[in-house]
């Protein structure tokens, strides 16, 4: 080589690559791949049943390995996940193509039959769930989806009446695809896959949206106080379900709505009035369910309709109820705040002559008792979809008034304009509030605390998206 002009470009590259000086930057515009996110999870291990993993923390964790056909990026923007396309082929018909070649570990390729079976479980005895209301607009209420299967990767859904919110409803986490396996449990398809070590989830390279940024998630089950201690000691990166004020991250959407369901024939006709007079929702959210909760006065949470405070009714005479048998209040034992709220209700109503016995039960037992109508009082929480019309359907179902859906939903679905439909829903929610044996209490959002070195976005359902999370900075 005689001079600089004869230096070939390849050699120039070869020379320059010998030098490498890396200075970590604070952040950059693209996501960074790799690393392990250590999550302390404060709840009990969720069951492999989409409709039961519905508390925000449970749903967030569950979605790491069980996804549905789509997910919401925002309330009105959906992203196909296990579906490649959701095409509206007629006024009330949608054709859904599943991702080709997607495989569920231990269950083979994903097929339309898996989708039909997963959704049918919501209406089956034993696994009956209020989330079946999301499928109510389908012909046959989504019970006989076998007929809708066009091929192994295509399914055609028709609604019995106009229901423009159907595609968005299908993105609800309770409609995730879960395939039961021999020996109990279920498997699904998500951005992470379970490993032989129960506490470690590895990245799924063939997840249809692309592998997650993280290589793996490590889950530590711990109670709230221990979880926060682990975070302060930097032994975990994130606490799911618990936060201190200093490092609280909360989703902007409070969609996990808790209601008090009652049986008027057991509680007496004055129960609603007595409750409204005795229990202050603002106090409940301030002192008893303080983590990311807002009082809920109407049938739908504040994220879906503006709230108007219920006027307190004068409590009725207590003496009449002295001789009445005690009422049992069932609540979800996996949610510590429900115990506090149940105790508060017990104390406040005691002065009015209500004798209430508290009974913590598992979520599956709670749903079974709900399905059979075997309860006096029940604290019942559901994850509302971020759209008012499907949310109202869910609230009506939760109240045990399945038959009301037939008269209410077609009138709402007939409104093609989303804004008009929303107004209609508000109007019906106000009108139905007094008829339904359901007292709205408060709504919660996903809550977590994390070290600031993690970028963690939320989806349109208000849940953290762990597959889009990655480490930033040093």
């Amino acid at each position: 080589m005689k001079g600089p002009k004869q230096v070939g470009p390849f050699w120039a590259i070869a020379a320059f690559v010998h030098f490498l000086c890396v200075h970590p930057a604070d952040a950059a515009e693209r996501g960074n791949y790799g690393g392990t996110l250590r999550i302390a999870f404060t709840g009990p291990e969720a069951q492999a049943e989409p409709s039961l993993a519905d508390a925000p923390a449970d749903a967030a964790l569950f979605q790491t390995s069980f996804q549905g056909l789509c997910r919401l990026q925002s309330a009105d923007k959906l992203q196909p996940v296990l579906a490649t396309e959701m095409e509206q082929t007629g006024a009330r018909t949608w054709r859904i193509s599943l991702v080709e070649g997607a495989r569920i570990r231990s269950a083979g390729g994903l097929t339309a039959r898996h989708v039909a079976q997963s959704w049918a479980r919501l209406s089956q005895q034993g696994t009956l769930s209020p989330y079946r209301a999301l499928l109510y607009p389908l012909r046959g209420e989504g019970r006989q989806l076998e007929g809708a299967i066009l091929s192994s990767s295509m399914i055609e859904l028709s609604t019995a009446f106009a229901w423009p919110d159907l595609p968005a409803s299908l993105c609800h986490p309770a409609l995730a695809i879960a395939v039961p396996i021999a020996g109990g449990g279920a498997v699904g398809l998500g951005p992470f896959t379970a490993t032989s070590r129960g506490d470690v989830l590895e990245e799924n390279l063939s997840f249809p949206l692309g592998r997650p940024y993280l290589d793996r998630l490590k889950i530590v089950f711990a109670n709230g106080r221990r979880a926060l201690r682990l975070l302060s000691l930097a032994q975990v990166d994130l606490v799911l379900g618990e936060a201190e004020k200093t490092n609280l991250i909360r989703s902007p959407l409070e969609l996990y709505a808790t209601y008090l369901a009652f049986k008027a024939e057991r509680t007496g006709a004055d129960f609603r009035g007595d409750f409204e007079g005795a229990v202050d929702r603002a106090q409940l959210t301030q002192f008893f369910a303080p983590t990311a909760s807002v009082p809920m006065f109407n049938l739908l949470p504040p994220a879906l309709m503006p709230q108007s405070a219920t006027t307190a009714t004068r409590a009725s005479a207590a003496s009449k109820r002295r001789a009445a048998p005690p009422l049992t209040l069932l609540y979800d034992q996996a949610l510590p705040e429900q115990r506090l709220v149940a105790e508060r209700i017990q104390v406040r109503l005691h002065d009015l002559g209500y004798r209430i016995v508290l009974k913590p039960v598992s979520r599956s037992e709670l749903r079974k008792r709900w399905a059979l109508g075997q309860f006096d009082l029940m604290l019942h929480a559901v994850l509302m979809p971020p759209l008012p019309a499907p949310a109202l359907a869910l609230a009506i179902e939760l109240a045990g008034k399945h038959e009301l859906l037939a008269s209410e939903l077609p009138r709402i679905g007939a409104e093609a304009e989303a804004a008009v439909r929303e107004l209609k829903v508000r109007e019906r929610a106000l009108a139905l509030a007094a008829q339904l044996p359901l007292i709205p209490l408060y709504a919660q959002s996903a809550v977590l605390s994390a070290s600031p070195r993690w970028y963690l976005p939320f989806d349109g359902q208000g849940l953290p998206r762990f597959d889009d999370a990655y480490a930033v900075g040093e």
Binding site: M1, P4, K5, V7, G8, P9, F10, W11, A12, I13, A14, A15, F16, V17, H18, F19, L20, C21, V22, H23, P24, A25, D26, A27, A28, E29, R30, G31, N32, Y33, E100, G101, L205, S206, P208, L209, G210, R211, P212, Y213, P306, A418, A419, V420, E422, L423, Y455, D467, D468, V472
Partner: protein, 442 residues
């Protein structure tokens, strides 16, 4: 290893901050007070957001500061919007009740502020419909005699801006990779853009010359989470080589200018990342990730390693000696010039993922064009650094809308003076190709 190669660092560089705006001249001050009075008298409801535009950012900032102070004295709870993509949406999201939009200009010796004032409060009974309230709503217009200083600032500021950003082409999806080169031999570069759906060859003026649709091709079993790819052009052989992470494979195509077609020559599993003369240099792709390498080289030749996986590799072969820029995950980068020995190399940090070398002057001296180093920066920033000696910030501007994903240099005029071609990701998910041109000095 030769010691020379180990001691070539220039050091870490952090880009300087912009200076704070100077106080506005007296006429702008008087005008701001007058405008504040009008806003209050028109029944603006607090809190008020202010958006001021003029051809001088410094004057706009100064004017907005004085106006905000005057409105604060009138208990209007003012806030100043700076570089907000959608001011009305911002106002609604931040519970601002009135928005004032003003433009400053000089006409016939008068400094004029004109614009409007309107309510941004949405009645919740409107649902998702973004209705406007009946009041406040007013046209704002005020003027004062302009100081010569203000007149000079507004008259010359557009001329003093050494760069101009213009639109080039739009795409339905955001770009995964961009490249430019003279494929048809007319002396002007063509621009080739890759998206997850197609590969498009644009002429120098933004016309579509050829397309290759790969939407129907099966997706890779290990697809990428975001559109990622690479495009390398070999002008002499009219070859367009590209790798799409969605497809998980590379294709080498031959562009036929007379027919406007792209003919498949070969496919490959590796990704084309650069060229050396007429031969393509290939690199490995990490499955499902947005990074390449770290090794690359020509087929059949020993590969060299960058030591770590990289996002982009940009190069200017017309420079003597050639200059190379590699950007690594995290926004670090290395700039190298010269041959196997005696070259100077710089370690850079705070680079954006959209970074590239552009020879604005056409003299073989590249400038570094880079986006904001922050993730999903709002607003996005484009920065131009001179690389004559140590990298120095020459110009910076805020992108009105969108995020910069790729930067490449292209000689669109046949003058050897390159323009920076930017792949911009728009908020609606679509892609836009924009061109940043250096304006010749007066």
């Amino acid at each position: 290893m030769r010691p020379l190669l180990l001691l070539l660092a220039v050091g870490t560089m952090t880009f300087p901050q912009l200076p704070t705006p100077p106080p506005p001249p007296p006429s702008a001050h008087r005008l701001a007070l007058e405008v504040a009075e009008r806003i209050v008298s028109q029944g603006a409801e607090a809190p008020v957001a202010i958006l001021v535009r003029s051809s001088s950012q410094a004057l706009s900032d100064g004017f907005a500061t004085v106006l905000a102070a005057a409105l604060a004295r009138a208990q209007m709870g003012p806030s100043v919007l700076n570089n907000v993509a959608d001011p009305i949406q911002w106002a609604r999201a931040n519970l601002v009740k009135s928005l004032v939009r003003l433009e400053l200009r000089v006409e016939n010796g008068q400094l004029i502020a004109r614009g409007d004032l309107f309510g941004t409060w949405v009645n919740f009974w409107s649902g998702k419909a973004v209705t406007r309230p009946p009041q406040p709503a007013a046209i704002i217009r005020a003027s004062v005699d302009a100081d010569p200083e203000v007149a000079a600032i507004l008259a010359s500021s557009s001329d003093r801006n050494p760069f101009r950003l213009t639109g080039f082409a739009s795409l339905p999806l955001r770009t995964a990779a961009l490249a430019a080169g003279d494929l048809d031999g007319d002396g002007r570069d063509e621009v080739v853009a890759l998206t997850d759906d197609e590969l498009v060859v644009f002429s120098w003026d933004g016309r579509v010359l050829a397309k290759r649709n790969h939407r129907k091709q099966p997706a890779s079993p290990t697809p990428c989470r975001e559109p990622v790819g690479s495009v390398v052009l070999v002008p002499k052989t009219r070859q367009v080589a590209y790798f799409s992470c969605r497809l998980g494979k590379a294709e080498v195509l031959e562009f036929e200018p007379s027919q406007g077609s792209l003919k498949l020559v070969e496919t490959a599993d590796a990704a084309p990342i650069a060229r050396s003369g007429e031969s393509l240099l290939w690199t490995k792709v990490l499955p499902g990730q947005n990074t390449f390498g770290p090794e690359f080289g020509a087929k059949g030749e020993p590969a060299v390693s960058l030591g770590q996986a990289f996002w982009t590799l940009s190069y200017l072969l017309s420079s003597t000696p050639p200059v190379y820029l590699a950007v690594f995950p995290g926004g670090t980068g290395t700039l190298a010039r010269g041959g196997p020995s005696g070259a100077d190399r710089w370690a850079l940090r705070e680079l954006g993922a959209g970074s590239g070398l552009v020879d604005f002057e056409g003299r073989g001296v590249p400038a570094l064009v880079t986006s904001s180093p922050r993730f999903h920066s709002e607003p996005e920033e484009v920065r131009v650094l001179q690389l004559t000696k140590a990298p120095t910030l020459k110009w910076t501007a805020v992108l009105p809308i969108g995020l910069i994903l790729q930067v490449t240099g292209a000689d669109l005029d046949g003058t050897r003076r390159q323009a920076a071609v930017l792949g911009v990701w728009m908020p609606d998910g679509s892609g836009e190709i924009q061109v940043l041109r250096s304006l010749p000095a007066e």
